[in-house]
């Protein structure tokens, strides 16, 4: 080999080695980055050290319960004590436009095709109660020829496939192992995509706290063996709550002994609030 020839081969070798080195560095960087990215997910999935600890509290193990709610609309008298109680219990803004739970009134007037529906945000009802902070249905149909009328309490349905959980970009809202859909007020960024996604209008945005909010089935009460506030105060047993894992709980009996239905089954959300006695227009 002449001196002229070694130069190209030397160059070629250098080129090859530098290419190899570059490739190795790139691969290493890529693998390292991927490992770092995968690590949190992997480490989190490994079981926590104290597996036997009851979660979320030491007196309450969420794997032992599966909650559900029932509404008997044939019993509701529209007294709105549930709405009041919920507002007090859960620090819901004291106005007539943001609710964790509310009651709707359906009235069929003789000679009219369309049903008349009203609820707590109706100005006539706000006037009857005297302020936005108190709740009352105005007795507005007492002189009308009414064919059929009834009240329907509404609240978050704590769906099994919640649309709101699906659309949350951060993971601030989630479904617990005992079947309750909760909101992490320390993580929510307040984008309100969940408020748009809920087909039932169960969610609202709390301006003061800057986060979305909704009914939690009073999770802080049910994990202590208490009833949700609305169930506690209902004077006519229109609201039923219980553990579907217990075959003799009020809700299990309610579901077994009645023909129950859910709101908007076509949404695919699989709601867990079961209604008895609602009518064709209720959605």
């Amino acid at each position: 080999m002449s001196k002229q020839d070694t130069k190209p081969s030397l160059e070629a070798r250098r080129e090859f080695l530098s290419k190899l080195g570059r490739a190795a560095t790139c691969t290493g960087a890529a693998v390292g980055a991927a490992a770092l990215g995968v690590m949190p997910a992997v480490s989190a999935k490994s079981p926590p050290s104290a597996e036997a600890d009851s979660f979320p509290t030491k007196d309450y193990d969420w794997t032992k319960h599966q909650w559900a709610f029932g509404v008997d609309a044939t019993k509701c008298i529209g007294c709105l004590r549930c709405v009041e109680a919920c507002k007090h219990e859960n620090d819901v803004p004291r106005n007539a436009h943001q609710f964790r739970t509310w009651v709707e009134r359906y009235v069929h007037i003789e000679g009219e095709d369309a049903v008349r529906i009203d609820s707590q945000q109706d100005p006539v009802n706000i006037e009857a109660s005297g302020s936005e902070k108190e709740f009352r249905f105005a007795n507005r149909y007492k002189d009308a020829k009414v064919e059929k009328a009834f009240f329907v309490p509404k609240l978050c349905n704590h769906c099994t496939h919640p649309a709101c959980v699906q659309v949350c970009p951060t993971g601030a809202t989630y479904r617990t192992k005992d079947g309750v859909v909760l909101i992490d007020h320390d993580y929510c960024i307040g984008c309100r995509y969940c408020v748009q996604a809920c087909p039932y209008g169960a969610r609202y945005f709390n301006e003061e706290k800057g986060v979305s909010d909704k009914c939690t089935w009073c999770y802080h009460r049910i994990t202590k063996g208490l009833q949700p506030a609305c169930v506690e105060v209902c004077p006519v047993d229109a609201r039923v709550f219980g553990d579907t894992k217990d075959k003799e709980s009020p809700i299990s009996l309610f579901i077994r002994n009645n023909r129950v239905q859910v709101l908007r089954p076509e949404s695919g959300n699989a709601p867990n609030v079961f209604y008895v006695g609602i009518d064709k227009e209720v959605n």
């Binding site: 949190p40 979320p56 969420w62 004590r81 219990e89 601030a172 320390d186 105060v233 004077p235």
Partner: protein, 325 residues
């Protein structure tokens, strides 16, 4: 590779590495534990303090009231519905006792379209004329018990027994003087109840107590049946003691139990129409003073002045006790 490309790639790689390191560092350590959320949030929410305490909590200090309430048909209305949430009570002071019961009670009990018929509900204006519900109804035991007295007596047997009563109450049940009440045509259920009350000591009267104690339960039933069957006084008497027109205005508040013209809608309560005005005055005063015992009448009479009592008596004395029934 040109220098600037290499430097650019290094910048990008550096940024990605920083991001890859930062993301797990910034992620809350409880995230991903059970799913795509911060697991610590669950115990945080569960740890919140309940605001409503339930009736069991109230029972701790208010046992007697709780017992009365839980035996009544208001036992499905928990204490905090009317008194407000008990969190922080008694440390933060008393809970409010609702004053405007007409506003509070009508939330459930106003007759309203859509309310199931099983719910006790009233047309407020006709029922109470707008006065406070608590005047007649004890919120912790709202059902007026008197409405359930049974009447099983024999009028003929009662007539025999009534001979002993005619000195004061008249042979035909129409009293000879202003102090002692007419009994003719009075509601049997009321008579049973009041005689039984005299007998048991629930009600005390100097004259009636020993007399009633001598009666057996069958006697009471028979006497009641006898007097109820008699014709009530025909000509209503004009009373000199009060203003019947003023009394009529006041009587609106009494109409729910005693009827608009003093003819009681429910036989458990006495008909006042054509009753002796002197007797009515004495009885109302006795209720007001607490000498005659009835939780409802005590409340109603509390706000009546002597003049009001006289006017009411005058009004009822003038009324015809003839009904269309």
């Amino acid at each position: 590779m040109p220098k600037h490309i290499f430097r650019l790639l290094s910048l990008i790689a550096g940024f990605l590495v920083v991001a890859m390191i930062a993301i797990p560092l910034l992620t809350d350590k409880s995230f991903y534990r059970f799913g795509h959320y911060r697991a610590d949030s669950v115990p945080e929410i569960a740890a919140q303090e309940p605001v409503l305490q339930t009736a069991n909590y109230c029972k701790g200090c208010h046992a007697a009231r709780h017992a009365q309430w839980s035996a009544s048909n208001h036992k499905s209305v928990t204490c905090e519905v009317c008194h407000g949430a008990a969190k922080g009570h008694p440390q933060n002071g008393k809970l409010p006792i609702p004053k405007d019961t007409a506003k509070l009670c009508t939330l459930c009990h106003e007759a309203m379209t859509g309310r199931p018929k099983t719910q006790p509900q009233v047309q407020v204006a006709q029922h109470s004329g707008g006065q406070q519900c608590a005047v007649c109804h004890n919120p912790h035991s709202p059902k007026i018990a008197a409405a359930t007295t049974k009447v099983t007596g024999n009028a003929a047997a009662g007539k025999q027994r009534a001979a002993a009563c005619s000195a004061c109450h008249g042979a035909d049940g129409i009293s000879p003087n202003d102090t002692w009440p007419n009994l003719a045509g009075q509601n049997a259920a009321y008579l049973v109840r009041i005689l039984a009350a005299y007998k048991s000591g629930d009600q005390k009267d100097v004259a009636m107590t020993p007399l009633a104690q001598a009666l057996g339960n069958a006697d009471i039933q028979n006497l009641a049946a006898h007097y109820a069957s008699l014709d009530c006084p025909t000509a209503p008497g004009k009373s000199a003691i009060g203003n019947a027109v003023a009394g009529k205005a006041l009587a609106k508040n009494c109409a729910a139990c005693h009827g608009e013209t003093g003819i009681a809608g429910n036989p458990a309560w006495p008909t006042l129409a054509a009753q002796k005005p002197g007797y009515l005055v004495n009885v109302l005063k006795a209720f007001k003073a607490g000498l005659r015992k009835d939780p409802m009448m005590a409340g109603v009479s509390r706000g009546l002045s002597d003049a009001d009592i006289a006017n009411l008596a005058a009004f009822y004395a003038e009324q015809s006790c003839k009904t269309t029934k």
